[in-house]
């Protein structure tokens, strides 16, 4: 699955930057995000719980950052396991650019899925990924424009997403112990990749939601 696009965020680059640093905003933007845990400066583990239709499941994922060129862009690669649902893995190139009325966030996602999700839902993944990305950015934009002090309590599509729970439920302990791929040399050079830590959840959340969307249709 390949998907690329640009989103105009209705805020200054600095505000977008801050928002990308704000795990609470991202957690709310991504359906069902429960936790994010740092394994190292460039490796993270995350848990996303998603409910689509009658299906509810939890996703554990590992994410690695590379090609870090703060504040212009970076590459995220990651893999999420959804148990019987199969797995999703892939990466995204993301960049931020100042424009007249805000900040342009460009993304170029390349993801693949395996197991049951590939078997059942391959045909519709592209369309669904676009839809989910659109929903993510709409929420993200809304939250960033509104300012960090008044985030919405409504999850987007995760009906039982724990929007009011603390942002760092330490749930994915088993996942944390998983050995992530070694970080790319570029990533090691970047001294402080803090700013994009929560952003890793964007593709992960999309993949997780897609998986569950199709399981629901099984």
């Amino acid at each position: 699955m390949q998907m690329s696009g640009e989103e105009l965020i209705n805020a200054s680059r600095a505000e977008v930057w801050d928002a990308l640093n704000d795990p609470e905003i991202l957690r709310q933007s991504i359906p069902g995000c429960q936790s994010v845990d740092k394994v190292s400066d460039t490796e993270f583990a995350a848990t996303v719980k998603v409910k689509v239709g009658p299906v509810s499941a939890k996703f554990n994922g590992n994410v690695t950052l590379s090609n870090i060129d703060a504040p212009n862009g970076y590459t995220i690669t990651g893999e999420g396991k959804g148990g019987a649902a199969g797995f999703g893995k892939g990466g995204a190139d993301i960049s931020l650019k100042e424009v007249d009325n805000g900040t342009l966030l460009a993304y170029d996602v390349n993801a693949s899925v395996g197991g049951k999700m590939a078997q059942i839902g391959s045909r519709l993944i592209d369309g669904t990924a676009k839809k989910l990305a659109g929903e993510f950015f709409a929420k993200f934009n809304e939250l960033v424009s509104a300012g960090p002090e008044k985030p919405s309590a409504e999850p987007l599509m995760a009906e039982d997403a724990p929007a009011s729970e603390p942002s760092s439920v330490p749930e994915a302990s088993a996942t944390q112990e998983k050995v992530a791929p070694p970080p790319a040399p570029d990533a090691e050079k970047a001294a402080s990749p803090d700013w994009m830590r929560p952003a890793i959840l964007i593709p992960l959340g999309i993949v997780a939601a897609i998986i569950l969307f199709y399981l629901a249709g099984d």
Partner: protein, 783 residues
């Protein structure tokens, strides 16, 4: 004199009453007290090494009885799954058959490969526990396309099969073919892909394993087309239990199409596990698993060339094929692209020399094995697409080109250059009948009318031949088969005159309970209501080879006839004794025994009663009336015929509308015309499915199966099909006592070639199956 419901009568199928009223006994209907449920954890990866499997959390999950991995089965001495037909490569080496464990050991080689078997009190508990199994995979780069797998530098799937090659096989006289091509006036060429198919029987595979600790007997209820073969393999090669302690029962089975011939990992694991936990275990495949693990069909890539003289006479034919075996060699996989394929490349034609070479290889896909037709549809597709291409190249009418090259009705027995001896047939008759039925000569006018309506019309012919009645044991033995392919039967009279027929054939939709009963009714005058046909239970029926390759009537039916002959022979002695005549004077017809030249007669029922109550009985004769027989065919049978398809294509949408279909099939003698017609309908429907709709697709990079549900794998439906014009020609088969040839696969063999020839005829350019609207539209709109 004819008998009610005898041979030739369109008797309604006896078994349908219970099927359509929900009273059949399929695997899902059979359950045991205390039964546990098994669930397979399957690989989500196409190719990966397994570095560790952690069962700790899963084993502690609620309801879990036990969880097994490949290591457990190996430790228990369970052998791997086998391939029962050895193919020898050009260089004399045996084919590469890498180890195939029921549960993966160290590596998984296709998406869906079995990793662990979880057994719990409920299916949901088993599924939930499977979620807790931690498998560490080291993911490797997969290859799913056969041409890529056989190319240098491809990922190596098995250590034991260098270059992923299973075998490199040949048949025919290469030098003679090359010489003929060198001197040919015309040479036509074609490249073809025979698309991979998923079998999709209505009932998915299932197994119920039971162990009796007292008798140490294992009983496996399973969806098998050949329970004795399953028992033999599980016993002799996997070491599950000795044959006398292993009972395999295949009850009502909801379709097979070949996919239930094979001995699979799941059934094997289920029966093994039942003993390990000393408790009945039930496993039922869901449809997703069926897509992943039921052996697929076809998947050939072929190049063919035909040499002709100036008059359009065929001089020689050469074919080069790559056949995808999948990740492991399935039970009869090796035979399909060789002795069930290469041997049929002479088609219905007099071709002086033929050469075929087949490279079979491994890929990270589900195993490929026999599927309705098994090798013969692939052969027919190559031959018949080739014939249309040649006719087009020569600017000849395709039917005229065929008629010119047909083996003539007076040429039998006809020996082909690819080791078959055709025994009977009348190919021109069938073709001319089919042409008449579809008004072939009126096609030009219909095409013009379509054109006026903005549509593109095409007509296509396939003159197929198949080798059925599989098979003479000595012949197949010399070609590498690990078994004989005879069939068994027992005809047992009960004292009150009803009959139980035990057959080694297995019915999973074919209607044996009716057809076989008709044979008994006809031969012995017993009403079919009084005939019970028993099949599918190794503890009830004599060892039999099962049902596939359109063999049940030609081989299984012939075994019944042999047993009937013994009954008649014995009955004559009893009748002679009771009617005080000499045996030579006893005449028999349809169960009535009479003394020649008198009005004295006795019925079969009276004689059977006398045999069980032998108060007045020949001194030297055993009491009772039950005879068994084993029938080993003398030759294959050769059903053949012509199917002609007519299509109209909408150039705006690319949708192919099948507007007419004519089929003239030579099945030899026919027992039940209605069942035969049903078989033709079903076969053609499956062939149309292959040509227009179906196709298994794997993602090239990830090896994921992306046609794993009915959302993406399109099966033919009633509105995809035309009304068929069907007739049969009946040249009796000379090699079996019924004179029958077999009809189960013909439609699936003929239809893809006929339909694709029609579409190619309409488009004026080649196109591969499935001819989906998108593909057809692109063909129309490309240069």
């Amino acid at each position: 004199m004819s008998v009610e419901n005898g041979i030739g009568a369109s008797v309604r199928r006896k078994e349908d009453q219970r099927f359509i009223t929900g009273n059949g006994h399929y695997l899902d209907d059979i359950n045991r007290v205390g039964q546990a449920y098994g669930y397979f954890l399957r690989s989500p990866h196409a190719f990966a090494k397994i570095s560790n499997i952690d069962l700790t959390a899963a084993k502690a999950a609620p309801g879990v009885v036990d969880i097994f991995t490949g290591a457990d089965m190996v430790a228990d001495g369970v052998g791997g799954l086998i391939c029962g037909w050895g193919i020898t490569s050009k260089d004399g080496s045996p084919h590469n058959a890498p180890p195939h464990n029921s549960l993966a050991v160290d590596a998984v080689r296709h998406v869906g490969d079995q990793v662990a078997f979880v057994i719990a009190d409920t299916l949901q508990q088993a599924k939930d526990a499977a979620e807790l199994i931690e498998v560490d995979y080291e993911v490797l780069t997969p290859v799913t396309n056969i041409s890529k797998a056989l190319a240098p530098g491809a990922p190596q799937i098995h250590e034991e099969a260098p270059g992923n090659l299973c075998y490199d096989w040949e048949l025919g006289d290469k030098a003679a073919v090359d010489a003929a091509f060198a001197n040919a006036a015309h040479v036509s060429k074609i490249d073809l892909v025979n698309n991979r198919l998923s079998p999709n029987p209505m009932e998915p595979r299932a197994a119920l394993g039971e162990y009796d600790a007292g008798s140490e007997e294992l009983t496996l209820h399973t969806t098998s087309q050949n329970p004795h073969v399953a028992r033999l393999i599980m016993s002799a090669f996997l070491g599950i239990a000795p044959e006398n302690k292993l009972r395999v029962i295949a009850p009502d089975v909801g379709g097979g199409f070949g996919s239930k011939i094979f001995v699979y990992a799941e059934e094997t694991t289920t029966i093994w596990a039942a003993r390990k936990i000393n408790r009945p275990v039930k496993w039922t495949s869901d449809r997703s698993e069926a897509f992943l693990t039921d052996a697929h069909g076809r998947d050939h890539v072929s190049h063919a060339e035909l040499a002709m003289d100036n008059d359009g006479k065929i001089l020689a034919f050469r074919v080069s094929t790559q056949a995808n075996m999948g990740a492991y060699l399935s039970t009869f996989a090796s035979a399909v692209p060789t002795y069930l394929y290469g041997t049929l490349l002479s088609g219905q034609y007099k071709i002086p020399s033929i050469y075929v070479e087949v490279q079979a290889g491994f890929t990270n896909t589900t195993a490929v094995d026999a599927y309705r037709g098994a090798g013969r549809p692939e052969a027919t597709y190559v031959v018949e697409r080739m014939m249309d291409t040649a006719a087009r190249d020569l600017s000849m009418d395709p039917t005229e080109f065929r008629l010119k090259n047909f083996i003539q009705p007076d040429a039998y027995p006809y020996e082909t250059p690819v080791i078959m001896t055709y025994d009977s047939g009348d190919y021109p008759l069938a073709m001319n009948l089919a042409k008449e039925m579809i008004d072939y000569d009126g096609f030009a006018a219909r095409k013009a009318q379509s054109e006026a309506n903005g549509k593109i019309r095409g007509i296509g012919t396939a003159a197929y031949i198949e080798a059925c009645g599989i098979a003479p044991s000595a012949a197949v033995g010399s070609l590498g088969a690990g078994v004989g392919l005879w069939e068994s039967a027992e005809v047992r009279f009960n004292p009150t005159g009803s009959v139980t027929v035990f057959t080694g054939s297995h019915s999973h939709g074919q209607g044996h309970e009716t057809t076989f009963a008709q044979i008994i009714a006809d031969k012995l005058g017993v009403p079919i209501e009084s005939v019970e046909v028993v099949h599918g239970d190794t503890s009830k029926v004599p060892f039999g080879m099962g049902t596939y390759g359109s063999r049940s009537l030609a081989v299984g039916g012939s075994a019944i006839v042999k047993a009937v002959d013994k009954i008649v022979e014995k009955s004559k002695k009893i009748a002679a004794h009771l009617m005080e005549a000499s045996v030579e004077d006893i005449e028999h017809e349809h169960g009535v025994f009479s003394v020649a030249g008198t009005d004295k007669q006795m019925t079969m029922g009276e004689i059977a009663f006398a045999a069980y109550v032998p108060h007045n009985y020949p001194a030297d004769l055993e009491p009772g009336m039950a005879e068994n027989a084993f029938y080993d065919p003398l030759n294959f049978t050769f059903p053949a015929g012509t199917h002609i398809a007519e299509v109209e294509i909408d150039p705006a949408t690319g949708i192919v509308d099948i507007v007419d279909w004519a089929a003239a099939d030579d099945f030899g003698n026919i027992i039940n015309p209605m069942i035969v017609e049903g078989q033709v309908h079903g076969g053609v429907a499956q062939g149309i499915g292959q040509a227009l709709l179906e196709g298994v697709v794997y993602d090239d990079d990830s090896g994921q199966l992306i046609t794993g549900s009915y959302m993406d794998y399109c099966m033919p439906r009633a509105d995809d099909l035309p009304s068929f014009r069907i007739t049969t020609t009946n040249t009796p088969c000379p090699s079996n006592p019924l004179g029958v040839k077999g009809c189960g696969e013909a439609g699936a063999i003929a239809a893809p070639a006929a339909l694709m020839n029609a579409i190619v005829n309409a488009l004026g350019k080649d196109i591969d199956m499935p001819a989906t609207p998108e593909k057809v539209w692109r063909a129309i709109n490309s240069n």
